[in-house]
Amino acid sequence: MAKHLTAKQRTERRMILMSVIAGAGTVGLSLLGFVPIIAAAAKRLRPPGALAEKSFLASCIKCGQCVQVCPVEAIKLADAGDGFGIGVPYLDARTQACDFSCDAVQCVLSCPTGALTHEIDKKEQVHMGLAQLTRPNACLARKGEGFKGLARGADFEGTHRYVEIDRWNPIKIADHPYDLELCDLCVRECPIENAIKLEPMSDDPTDKRRTPVVQEACVGCGMCEMICPVEEPCIEVETRKMWGTA
């Protein structure tokens, strides 16, 4: 068959074949974005107001306007390793939590597509996840110990707004030493009212030991995870966990 074709026809055929290959290659490469989704390797903590994960990935236009408005620079954009989640915002609470320094969920207001749903306008309405006491045995309060010094060391870059120091501007946590008789950092720095409490561990009034108990009001912002002075934090946010679920 092929020998009946003229040279021009052969070149043309070759070009079309190459185009099909190149096109299929391009589509194939883009579909590799499925892999991290299926593997669900990266269970990311999303900014306040994020829709359910699948809708969130679909509706996010990957522009980073939420990154730009965050006063504590908590929001990062995911890289190619997140597949279809490339350019989608996430937080790493341990490095920099959302502490609602902006007061008015600025990231939600900045979102052009409603991937961060415009239905919420107060920090109390946010639901990013729930804090969990993941390493209770290491918890200083549970051991009845105090805490003196810098919560995360002198090199820690994370910032937090201390209302009593500066109502408007977050400062470095490394610039704010503590001297606590009993460590209550997770409760002390929690930006949500009644989201976490310290409860006694026994009926004995001389027993100093207290345990942090997460309440229903917890929004999963990760402030407790960031401020926990124990290396490998005792308390961590479980992404998208709902109150009352296992």
């Binding site: 190459m18 490469l29 390793g81 279809f84 350019g87 900045s110 052009p112």
Partner: protein, 325 residues
């Protein structure tokens, strides 16, 4: 109207046809005949020879354009790093002094994947569509897109290597771009993910410029290597759905490059520099069906041909304003 449909057909990958006899206006036919007389042929050869003797290349439009790409992208970068609220966001979606802007193709992907429409997105999309309709559609590609700029440098290297016979250009079928356009639209709708954004070099590059380097830049580098060593301007010519979206917008745009048959000596300089030379088919001998023709929808209004044309036969024009501008 016929020419308009033909320009869309060519943008979608169709090969330009040699025009039929009845397509030519009387004036154009007469001018073509006149240019074919032995006397005129001689004059033409002499004129071209003279052109190449005192050849001083103009780069006016290219320099303006490079300035535009750099300034626009710099505005994004500066807005973020110095917290001046000028253009917040990235090229996929942004706020220009508070006003919503959204890239048409990114919006399309989001709407198809999410299957809901948000009012801010509509505002941003309509604004952007209007802006780019006004200034020429694919002018987005050549006047704003950061990938276009780096691809131009890759193209220079490619042409330099090609001149040394170290590489050669491999053409692909331009029908690949509309095919990819449809495939990515269907994929967004069916999977519910913005699949194209995973490999969009425009989004990747824009975000990397603003928010810092990313691993995804490897893909941009791979594309540039393909363009240097294998196929000239591969992504912009044969693949990018964003270019096609803006091509549709620009098909009815008032800003266009206009071809003037009377001034043309058919040297072919314009087609050599053009990223989409199929839009310049009428500059070949005996092809222009009218004395003046506006270049078709796929034209990026980059002005390379305007710079390259030795006789000023190609110029930027505002359609519908007569001789006003």
């Amino acid at each position: 109207m016929n020419r308009f449909i033909d320009s869309l057909r060519i943008m979608l990958g169709g090969a330009p046809h040699r025009p039929e006899k009845e397509d030519f206006t009387e004036e154009a036919a007469a001018l073509h005949r006149f240019k074919q007389t032995p006397e005129q042929k001689k004059l033409r050869v002499a004129a071209i020879k003279a052109e190449f003797e005192d050849k001083e290349k103009s780069h006016k439009w290219r320099n303006l354009r490079w300035a535009s790409i750099i300034i626009v992208n710099l505005m994004f970068i500066v807005s973020f790093h110095f917290d001046v609220q000028l253009v917040e966001g990235a090229l996929t979606a942004s706020r220009f002094v508070g006003f919503h802007m959204a890239d048409l193709n990114s919006s399309l992907q989001v709407v198809l994947a999410h299957k809901e429409i948000l009012i801010n997105l509509v505002i941003g999309t309509v604004t952007v569509a209007l802006v780019w309709w006004l200034v020429g559609g694919r002018s987005f590609c050549s006047w704003v897109c950061p990938y276009h700029l780096v691809a131009e440098f890759a193209e220079k290297i490619h042409l330099w290597l090609a001149e040394k016979k170290l590489v050669s250009d491999h053409e692909f079928h331009r029908g690949m771009r509309p095919a990819l356009y449809v495939i990515f639209a269907v994929l967004a709708f069916v999977t519910g993910y913005t699949v194209f954004e995973t490999i969009s070099p425009v989004g990747i590059l824009s975000r990397a410029l603003i928010y810092g380097a990313s691993l995804a830049l490897i893909w941009v580098v791979v594309l540039l290597l393909i363009e240097i060593f294998y196929s000239r301007r591969f992504w912009c010519r044969y693949a990018c759905p964003i270019g096609l979206t803006y091509g549709f917008v620009g098909s009815v745009s008032p800003v266009a490059v206009r071809y003037d048959l009377q001034h043309c000596l058919h040297e072919g300089e314009c087609r050599k520099v053009c990223m989409v030379p199929h839009v310049l088919e009428m500059t070949k001998k005996q092809r222009a069906t009218d004395l003046k023709i506006d270049i078709g929808a796929d034209c990026t209004r980059c002005g390379m041909c305007v710079d390259a044309c030795p006789t000023g036969a190609l110029t930027f024009k505002l359609r519908g304003t007569g001789g006003l501008l």
